[in-house]
Point group: C2
Chain length 152, copies 2
C-alpha cells in the first residue's frame, strides 16, 4: 500500500503507466478479450493484470494517474457492439462516467469496430486485463502530458 | 509523467515502493555509499537510482508515497558521523524537515553507526542511490501501513 495510489494498481501496472509517454496507448480489456495473444504484440510484450475488478473500477484507478491526450479529439475509444455501433451498453457508460470525472468535463469516447480494435491494440504500449465479465468492456486510452507548472 | 506522482520517482523505484510491505526497509544513500555491492544483498537484489537529486529531494519524493511505520519509535534512521554521533549535518537536517513535513509532525530520526548501517542495509528491501554528494547523506526508512479508511 502507498499513499495517493489506488490499491488496485499493482507494481507492474504502475511501472507500465510510468514508462509510457505522450501518445502511447493503453488497452483496458475485459475477461473475454484475447488479452495474452494481443499483448505479446505490444511494446511491453506481456500482459498486465487488474484481477477481480470491473472495467469502471479499473478505469477509475488508471485515470487517477494517467492523463488523457488533449492533443487529439478522442483520446479514449470503446469497442463497438457488432451490428450496433452506436449502442452504449452499461459497462461502457460506467467507464464514460469515470473518464468525465477524471477530466472534470464530459468528454465522450470515440468508438472503433471490433476487428479494427484488435489491430490497433496490437500497436499499443500495453494491455491490462480487468475482471470485467460483461461483453464489450474493452477500451483504448491515449496518454497525455503533465504540465511543468504542476508542482509535486 | 503521471498525475500525483513526483517525476523524480522512476518506474523501477515506483515498482519497488509498491512491492514493499509493512516493516520492509528502504535505504536512501548518497553518491559515495557502496550502493551496488550492498544492494546485491537486499531482497530486490539490484540497485535503484534517483540520479541528480539531493538526499532531501529524493526523500521528499519517496515520502510522498511511502508511509513510515508508526508501530516503531524510530522508523527513520540516519548514519552517524564517525566520532560525532550526535552531530546532525545540514544534509541530515534537510531530510529531517522532509520527514516532519510528510508526517505532519516533528519525528526525529534515530541514528546508527556506519558499520552497523552497512550491516542493516544488506537486510533491507532495496537501496536507492540519490545524487547527493555531501557525506553522511544515508538514511533508512521503514515502511508503514495505509488504513482501510483511506479512500482513493
Amino acid at each position: 500500500m502507498l499513499k495517493l495510489i489506488d490499491p488496485s494498481l499493482n507494481a507492474d501496472v504502475l511501472h507500465a503507466l510510468k514508462s509510457m509517454g505522450h501518445g502511447d496507448e493503453l488497452v483496458l480489456c475485459d475477461a473475454n478479450f484475447p488479452a495474452d495473444s494481443v499483448a505479446r504484440h505490444t511494446v511491453l510484450g506481456r500482459l498486465l493484470h487488474m484481477d477481480n475488478v470491473s472495467a469502471a473500477r479499473a478505469a477509475k484507478a488508471i485515470l487517477s494517474l494517467l492523463p488523457l491526450d488533449h492533443f487529439v479529439d478522442q483520446p479514449a475509444l470503446r469497442m463497438e457492439i457488432a451490428g450496433q455501433p452506436d449502442e452504449i451498453p452499461p459497462v461502457q457508460a460506467e467507464v464514460q462516467s469515470e473518464i468525465d470525472r477524471a477530466e472534470g468535463k464530459s468528454w465522450p469516447m470515440g468508438s472503433i469496430e471490433r476487428m479494427a480494435f484488435y489491430e490497433r491494440a496490437r500497436k499499443a504500449y500495453c494491455v491490462i486485463r480487468s475482471g470485467e465479465r460483461r461483453f464489450y468492456g474493452c477500451f483504448l486510452f491515449k496518454k497525455g502530458v503533465v504540465s511543468p507548472d504542476v508542482s509535486f
